[in-house]
């Protein structure tokens, strides 16, 4: 009986949280015109979300690509189909690994920074001060950061994919001796524009989700050092789970 009541309470809590996220999103959309009239604010956030994540994205992309090249080579050489390595690496990067890993890295690098920044601004009354100055922090602070993330993630994903394919090329062709021409021609043979479209749709959805979670957690953090710390952790956890769930849903819709 007590257990049932507890589950009920948890469920009610989760539904309330979902509701507050939706409400938050609507409020933010209302404040969008303000942000869009100040592209400079968004540009700075694209810099913060994109440029500052570049090193980790490129490094990770290259190594993920190399691993894909190595594993792919191992599997295909058992089948005597080494020529398919390029196609397999490109497909797995473009359709799955690129969008998912980029979103997870983004949550860890830029998402946590966004949450901490907004949470700290709240804790130090900077957001309140703006309200008193008759400036909506949703438009001035939250919306540009959301847009910055939303725009940066698809580009980061494209960069991750390209570097990853080069990583697979490096291992497959340079180290393992897969035929250079076969690597690229088989890739072009099997990857089509639909695969790339799928990757872009995913990265847009993941970028939106990751950015929304990050700014929401920051904006609703407790006004204490501990509250901001907890919110940062939640950003990573919630984004990771959300991205994996979304990934399954989008894949099943698009396949």
């Amino acid at each position: 009986m007590g257990r049932l009541a507890q589950i009920g309470r948890r469920l009610a809590q989760a539904i309330r949280k979902l509701g507050s996220v939706v409400l938050f999103l609507l409020t933010m959309l209302q404040a969008m015109p303000y942000a869009l009239r100040r592209p400079r604010l968004v540009t700075v956030q694209i810099h913060n979300a994109g440029v500052l994540s570049l090193v980790i994205i490129m490094t990770s992309g290259f190594f993920v690509g190399m691993v894909v090249g190595l594993q792919g080579y191992d599997a295909f050489s058992r089948l005597r189909q080494e020529d398919l390595l390029g196609a397999a690496a490109a497909l797995s990067l473009i359709k799955e690994l690129g969008p998912v890993v980029t979103a997870l890295l983004f949550a860890g690098r830029a998402g946590t920074a966004l949450t901490a920044e907004i949470g700290l601004m709240k804790a130090t009354d900077q957001l309140s001060a703006m309200e008193v100055m008759a400036i909506d922090p949703m438009g001035r602070i939250v919306a540009p950061r959301f847009l910055g993330g939303l725009i940066a993630v698809p580009f980061l994903t494209a960069i991750f994919n390209s570097v990853g394919i080069l990583g697979a090329y490096f291992v497959g062709v340079q180290l393992m001796g897969v035929d250079n021409g076969a690597f690229w021609s088989q890739m072009q043979e099997y990857v089509d524009s639909g695969d790339i479209r799928e990757g872009i749709i995913k990265s847009l959805a993941f970028g939106g989700a990751a950015s929304l979670v990050a700014v929401f957690e920051g904006y609703t953090a407790d006004r204490t050092a501990e509250g901001v710390g907890l919110a940062t952790t939640r950003t990573v956890v919630v984004t990771s789970v959300l991205v994996l769930i979304l990934d399954y849903m989008i894949t099943s819709f698009l396949l």
Partner: protein, 263 residues
């Protein structure tokens, strides 16, 4: 300027205001005093419309604040400046940009004119030379003066100060005190100063309210309050450790508790 009638408000199940009444006249310096946690900051947030009361009326400049819509609130706030307890400067912007912030948002002044206004305001608080510094490079007192310059940027009619003396060295404290006085005397700004520093506030306040337990328990000029016959106000004004507000948090008798473990 400000009329608050029968204000009631609860947050997270706790009653903060329980029938609070007060009046603040235009052009005066009014002090609001009271122990920590009585809701002084909350009261200021009601005046700026950031919080809505449970019931009762908050009128600023004749406008019923809780009834204002977003546009009305924003219009009202353009005439209000507020100095936050922890300054609340934008950490990513220079001192100059912090003071310029409300001007750039709310006016279409050319950058040259904004520069003039900002430097004037910074000069008034004695920090024109610090215009290029970042907030992290300022001392607490300097940060509060910059925040004051920012609060004054749009020449407000009403300035709200939340604990302006807390945590300041005597020199910085003297500067802030003087700035509040000058703003009031020279510019005719109505000032509301929240503080529990009785000694300092008595030097500049025209009128004081003592708030405790969700209502006003005493009011008058600093002189009147000092001679109040209420024991609670006496304790508060003189800073006695024990009195109607007991030194000891409610507890079981000392003797019983110490011996309790053995018996």
């Amino acid at each position: 300027m400000i009329e608050i009638d029968d204000l009631r408000f609860s947050i997270a199940g706790r009653r903060i205001f329980d029938g609070l009444n007060l009046r603040i006249a235009s052009g005066t310096v009014t002090a609001i005093m009271g122990p920590s946690g009585t809701g002084k900051t909350t009261l200021l947030r009601m005046i700026t419309g950031q919080l809505r009361p449970g019931s009762g009326s908050v009128r600023v400049d004749g406008r019923e604040v809780p009834a204002l819509d977003r546009a009305g609130l924003y219009d009202l706030r353009r005439h209000i400046g507020m100095l936050f307890q922890n300054s609340a400067l934008l950490t990513d912007d220079t001192v100059f940009d912090n003071v310029a912030f409300p001007l750039r948002e709310h006016t279409r002044l050319p950058e040259r004119l904004i520069r003039t206004v900002v430097l004037t305001k910074l000069h008034a608080v004695g920090l024109r030379g610090a215009a290029r510094l970042m907030p992290s490079e300022l001392s607490g007192g300097m940060a509060r003066r910059v925040a004051l310059a920012r609060a004054m940027a749009l020449d407000p009619d009403l300035l709200l100060y939340d604990e302006p003396f807390a945590g300041l060295d005597p020199i910085s404290l003297g500067m802030i005190l003087r700035l509040i006085k000058v703003n009031n005397d020279v510019l005719g700004v109505t000032s509301v100063v929240v503080s529990h520093d009785v000694e300092q506030i008595s030097r500049i306040a025209d009128y004081c309210y003592v708030v405790s337990g969700g209502r006003v328990i005493g009011e008058g000029t600093p002189e009147q309050l000092r001679h109040s016959d209420s024991a609670l106000i006496q304790q508060f004004m003189s800073g006695a450790a024990d009195g109607p507000v007991p030194f000891h948090y409610p507890a079981s008798p000392y003797r019983d508790e110490l011996l309790g473990g053995r018996s």
